[in-house]
Every structure is written in structure tokens, then in C-alpha cells.
Symmetry: C2
Subunit: 422 residues, 2 copies
């Protein structure tokens, strides 16, 4: 163990509480954990008015200080959003428990029997912005995977989050688990948040959920292991051999079905052999749906409804009704464009050419590479994980959608009969 | 992508070279990679004199500046150490290629076929101290797993490392791979090393190999994902139901077979029911082998050859002929002692009691938990990985011995027939 930097006592205390609870929760059986999740769902229903009142206080402050309508909407709890939280907890209760799975095992020539067993990470810290439902969603996934959730939300949602956390902690106690299966950071100051990021002795993993400034603050300050839930600058590449009707349908879905999410497409890349016809129909379809288009020189030549792209456009995750368009001479050009500008999230190729599909899958460096389907499928629910804590755009530990399995690690157990090393 | 901090141009250039080579190496077939490894082995043999001469220059400087005999020995290359490097490269060439393994796959109700495929991390940075053979060992493991090795050794071994790196880079070119499959950081300054730790755009993973001050510097400076190869404060717990002859044999092996390694035992924990007899024979056996013993009050009462332990003793990884001794009232006491003082590396229980063994395995929080065998087995070779890049004491990404598999990540490939999200 290397030395811990000087951290405020209150932060050390949060870490100690979380770690103490982790040693209990990590050994809890599936039924006990499910009982806590179901108790939490029940208490959210029961204490709905308490939660809505706390949220109303946050909203009143937000309105008074002129918070914009977007963040204000994300901050808002409604009956249907509370129902969503309840449903989320019950869904996680129904998922299989990842803890205890024997991942692999083998016998060594000296007779040692080695097994690799899935175990909880321990204490998972999640620092998140705005949406109070994350308090409940993150708690549910952490608890089911045997991890204590150390949660730090944004100051604008403080009363909402504290009210939800109080309910969830009560549910743990009701089921017979420590209240500290959820430790909430009640001091919303930046100093406390950065100290939490340095709790190496107590925090096994930190997952930030928020925008670029949060990610940058984590990069600058965190000393604990981090899994980055990063940007999605996702491309749809239409190959020379694409089924163009299918391609158009997929493109419209990837760009417009929901624009504010990380798996929405931000950039259209088209093989020059089909550029003239495909880009024209794409422009018709996208502009009709309110999408603003910017493109490279070749794209602008095909349609005057494509404005010239600036230097930064191809790097931009718009999260909005806007899309960049690039024309490439061949598959190699498409792959290098995607690898150059992509953020390693989700990249799609639309083609009937097997070689092209396989090459794109191999050579594009992203968490998910999609053939002949929408980029919108990259998430935990669509992948069949039941729920997700985020989508990793780094390569270490977990890549792509993170469900219960990605909130675990493993330990080796080695069984012998007196073996010593020669 | 979040912004890159201001880094020296020469460091950015190293990152760019590594990343460019990674896009070639990541797609290289097994035979090509094996050819490079075999060429490297051949060239080390061929250019042995060049390597020994460079090493002699480092050694002369070391002697002149009064470097102690231990570090000087670790710095020394000999014919037999060069043979070890050659053998290491040939061993890795014979190991199975981890890249391309389909880890799992499934079909979704909407017909999407999802596969999770093992791929290289990309650029793996290793910062290491002293021993020049790490240059070759790390290169071999990285290359076989499809990763560019970005290597930074200590300044005292600079000429040795650069000579080895030159040989390895030549071997890559000879086999038809880019020389930059190994990028060596030739500027040994601290400023350059800390800048390398911040190369988020180019480095996928950083693995430090060195002592506590290196680990602390990584914790303080690194912004790229890190896997900590940390201390091993390993315990041997002798349970009330242990086979005491077997236990003594295992204890002697765990403590004295090789003292300077992380999987050597540093602490003996004994159940009070067998403490009187076992500690006496343990003291006889260990003192006869030159081991200095310190212990808690109960241990000191049993033998006057056990000196009182200071507050820090139970936290100390001696890496030497010294051991701490603690007496515990029961299994619960043993588990809590181990979890309190251990470093999460390797912990052994010696017992014939199945319940005790299973409980120790479940409740002790360590990378490896060993039943009735020496702690010394926790390494890549003994686990059957063929070779190792280190032993992780963190929980994120990899835990315990890290071989080729642990130097990889995965990507999802999603195969559809026009699916869009509803």
C-alpha cells in the first residue's frame, strides 16, 4: 500500500463506511440482495410524495437561478419517472446474480487446482450529473453485483438525491443489509468531489456519468481506477455494395430516432460509387426530418442543402438534429476516416459485401462495430444485459455497454495438498 | 475526446509513432508475430557482444557513482541472462495467440447476432526500473498480444535498454512489421516520464513495474488507465485443523525459497489452539534458515526468539529474511487480520477443515487465495500462462498474474439484416 494523500476526514469517513459495508454485501446471497431491491422498489412507491416534495424544492431553486429548460427537465421527477425507477429496481432483481460464477479453472501438472471466480469489485463510486433517477439505477446495479455504491450527484439535484438515497438505505436495513450499501456524498462541493476521486484505499472503481467537463475533472484529479463513459461520435458508412433502401432506413433511424444519446449517429460516410444517388436521397429524407447537414467538398457538390463543414465538425458529437457528411474513395478511406474522427463508441457499415463487412469489423477500432443495423442498438438493454451502468469508451476493464458482469472482478482460488515451489 | 494537456512535442511524437504502428500490428497474423519474436531471439544471440558492451558502459557509470551491489547486480547482463531473454521470446512465440478469440456471442430477439471478440489493447506503456531484461520480456508479451510496447526504463540502464530495443526493432523490420512495434523513450528525464503518463490519446494502458516511489508517481501523475503491479504482503495462516508437518514445510517454502519476490510470505498467522506447538517448531525452522522474527504479545510469550513487533511491522513487505507473527483466537480473527494488513496479493490457509478453507477463500479479499500450498505459486508461469507481464493487485481489468490474455480487451461485433430501433 502506498500512502494516501491528505484527504478531509469526512471523506475518509465516507470511504471507511463504504468499505465496511462492502465486506458484508460482498458475501450476501442472491435472495438477500433481491429482497433489498424489492424493498427499495416498494419504498419508492410508498414514499413517492416525500421524493416529489424534495424534487420540487430542487426545481424551485433551479427555476429561481434561471436554469435552462433542458437541465430543468432532466432534473424533474414525475410519477412516471418514479415508476421507471421502481421498474428498474425490479428488473435488476430478476437478473441473474453474476457473483460466484466460475469463469474458468484448470489443473496444473503439480496437482494444484486453480479456479477463477467472479467476485464484486467492492466499492464502486459513481459521480453523475443532474438526473436523480441515476441514484436509484446505479444503486440497483451495484447492489445486485455485490458492490457498495458511493454516489455523488450534482448540487442542483441534492435534495432529490438525498431523499432517494434515504429511501434506498432504509430498504437495505429493512432487508437485513447495512444502510451503507449506499453511501451518499452529501457535501456537494468541488473539493469534496475531488477528494473522493483520490480515495484509493477505499474505492475500487470510479465511473463518471456526465459531460466533457466532468470527464476532464476526473482525468485531472482521480487517482483511483476509472472507467470512462465517453462520447459517441458514431458513423454510418454506406458502402458501394449497400442495399440503398435499407441503408436509408438505417441512417434515418441512427440519426433521428433519438438525437440526444451517445449511440445516435453523428456522421454519414459514403463510398463515392454510390454517393451521387445515395446522398441526394439521404438529404431529402434527413432535411425533411429537420436535420441540418454539413459536409466535405465532394458532399457539398452533390447537394446545395449540405453546408461546408468546418475543421471541427467531423470531431463533433452534435447530440442534436445535425450531421456531417463525408465522401470516401473506397473502404480503406472509410476505415481511416472512422478511425481518425470516431470516439471508439459505435461504428456501422452498411453493405452486402462480406469481405467489406469483415474488414470493417476487424479494422475499425471501436467498442461496437455494427453491420447492416442502426448504431442505436449499442446499449445494455438492447444487448440483453437487462440494464446498464454506462457505456465504456476505454479499453481497460470493460468496453461498450456495462451491465452487472462489468461491475465485477475475479479472484483466483488455488487448491493444493501441500505443494511447495522447487 | 477531451482535450489533451500541453505535452512536449517529442512525447506526442512518441505517442503518434506507437499508435500508427498499433494499427498495423493489431491486424498482424499469428505467424507474422511469431516470426518477429523468433527473429528477435536470433538477433539477441547474434548481437550479444553489442548488448554486453552497452551494459558494461551502464555498469561502469553505476560503479563510479557508487550504486549499491543489489541494484548493480540487477542491472548486469550476463550470457546466461541473455539466454534467458532469448528463451523468453521463444516461449512467447510458442504460446497461443489470444487475439481473435470469440469470448461469447448470442442472438437477440430481433435477430441481431452479437459477438464479443478479443482484440489487442493497442498501445501498452510499461515504465520499469533497473533490470534491462524487462525490455525484451515486455516487448515479447506485448507483440504476441498485438500491442505496441511503449517502454521507459530507468536512466541507470539507458544504454543497455537502448541497445536491446534497437535489436528488437530490427527484428520487427526483418519480419515485415514496423520498427515502432517497440517505441523506446530515450530521454530518461522525469519530466518526459510524467508526460508519457498523460498521453491519453495514444496510450491505452500503463503498467508500472517498480517500487513504491514509482507507483506513487504514477498515482500522482498518470491520466491514462493504469494497472498497478503492487506489493505482496502475503500471509500464511495455520488453522486449528492444519496438518502441522505439512504446514511447516509450506511455511518454510513460502518464506525462504526466495525472499525478494512479491509472492513470498511476510507474515505468519496462527490459530491459538495450535500456536504453542506450531510457533515453537516454526521458530526453530525459520531461525535456522536465518529468518528474523517479530510478533505480537502472544507470539512473543511462546518464544523469546520472537522480538516485539512495532506498529508498522504487520504492514511491511520485508522482501527479506524477516517475518511477522500473529496469534488469532479463531478463523474470523485470521480473516480480519489478513484483510486488514494484506495488500490483496496472495493469502494462504493451511487446514484440513473444508468449511474453514471455503470460508477463507470467500471472505479474504485478495487476487489469489491458496489452500494447503505455498504462496510462491502466484505467478504467470506457475499458473500456466507461459509468461507474465506482472501481477495486478488492483481489481479493475486484471487481477493476479497477467499473461497474454490480460493484455487484451474486446470489441463487440453486431450483425444485422437491416434492423432499426423502434
Amino acid at each position: 500500500m502506498t500512502g494516501q494523500p491528505e484527504l478531509p476526514d469526512q471523506v475518509i469517513d465516507l470511504g471507511k463506511r463504504a468499505k465496511a459495508a462492502a465486506s458484508v454485501l460482498g458475501l450476501a446471497g442472491t435472495e438477500l440482495k433481491n429482497a433489498a431491491l424489492r424493498a427499495a422498489a416498494g419504498l419508492i412507491r410508498e414514499r413517492r410524495h416525500e421524493l416529489l416534495a424534495a424534487n420540487e424544492a430542487d426545481l424551485a431553486d433551479g427555476r429561481a437561478s434561471g436554469v435552462a429548460s433542458g437541465p430543468l427537465d432532466r432534473l424533474t421527477l414525475t410519477d412516471s419517472r418514479l415508476d421507471g425507477m421502481v421498474k428498474g429496481l425490479l428488473t435488476v432483481a430478476d437478473l441473474p446474480d453474476p457473483v460466484g460464477e466460475v469463469l474458468d479453472g484448470w489443473r496444473r501438472p503439480n496437482g494444484l487446482q486453480i479456479e477463477r471466480v467472479r467476485v464484486p469489485l467492492g466499492v464502486v463510486c459513481i459521480i453523475y450529473e443532474n438526473r436523480p433517477n441515476v441514484t436509484s439505477d446505479a444503486f440497483g446495479l451495484c447492489l445486485k453485483s455485490g458492490n457498495v455504491a458511493l454516489l455523488r450527484g450534482s448540487s442542483s439535484a441534492l435534495r432529490s438525491n438525498m431523499a432517494i438515497a434515504a429511501v434506498l438505505r432504509d430498504a437495505c436495513v429493512r432487508a437485513g443489509l447495512p444502510a451503507d450499501c449506499l453511501v451518499f456524498v452529501e457535501d456537494p462541493s468541488y473539493e469534496i468531489a475531488t477528494a473522493v476521486m483520490k480515495l484509493n484505499e477505499y474505492v475500487d472503481c470510479l465511473i463518471p456519468r456526465g459531460g466533457p467537463s466532468l470527464i476532464q475533472s476526473i482525468r485531472d484529479n482521480a487517482t483511483v481506477p476509472v472507467i470512462i463513459d465517453g462520447d459517441g461520435n458514431c458513423h454510418v458508412y454506406v458502402d458501394a455494395n449497400a442495399d440503398l433502401d435499407q441503408a436509408l432506413n438505417i441512417l434515418i433511424n441512427a440519426k433521428t430516432q433519438r438525437t440526444s444519446v451517445c449511440n445516435a449517429a453523428e456522421s454519414l460516410v459514403v463510398h463515392e460509387a454510390v454517393a451521387e444517388s445515395f446522398v441526394k436521397s439521404a438529404v431529402d429524407a434527413l432535411v425533411a426530418r429537420g436535420v441540418e447537414l454539413v459536409g466535405d467538398e465532394a458532399a457539398c457538390k452533390i447537394s446545395d442543402r449540405i453546408a461546408p463543414a468546418t475543421a471541427g465538425d467531423f470531431r463533433t458529437e452534435y447530440l442534436d438534429l445535425k450531421m456531417s457528411v463525408a465522401i470516401v474513395p473506397d473502404l480503406t478511406g472509410a476505415i481511416s476516416h472512422v478511425n481518425r474522427y470516431g470516439s471508439g463508441h459505435t461504428e456501422a457499415i452498411l453493405t452486402r459485401d462480406l469481405d467489406a463487412a469483415r474488414r470493417f469489423c476487424r479494422e475499425v477500432d471501436a467498442a461496437a462495430v455494427v453491420v447492416n443495423a442502426s448504431t442505436r442498438f449499442t446499449d445494455g438493454e438492447e444487448f440483453g444485459f437487462g440494464a446498464e451502468i454506462g457505456i465504456s469508451t476505454q479499453k481497460v476493464h470493460a468496453r461498450g455497454p456495462m451491465g452487472l458482469r462489468e461491475l465485477t472482478t475475479y479472484k483466483y482460488t488455488v487448491w493444493g495438498e501441500g505443494q511447495v515451489r522447487g
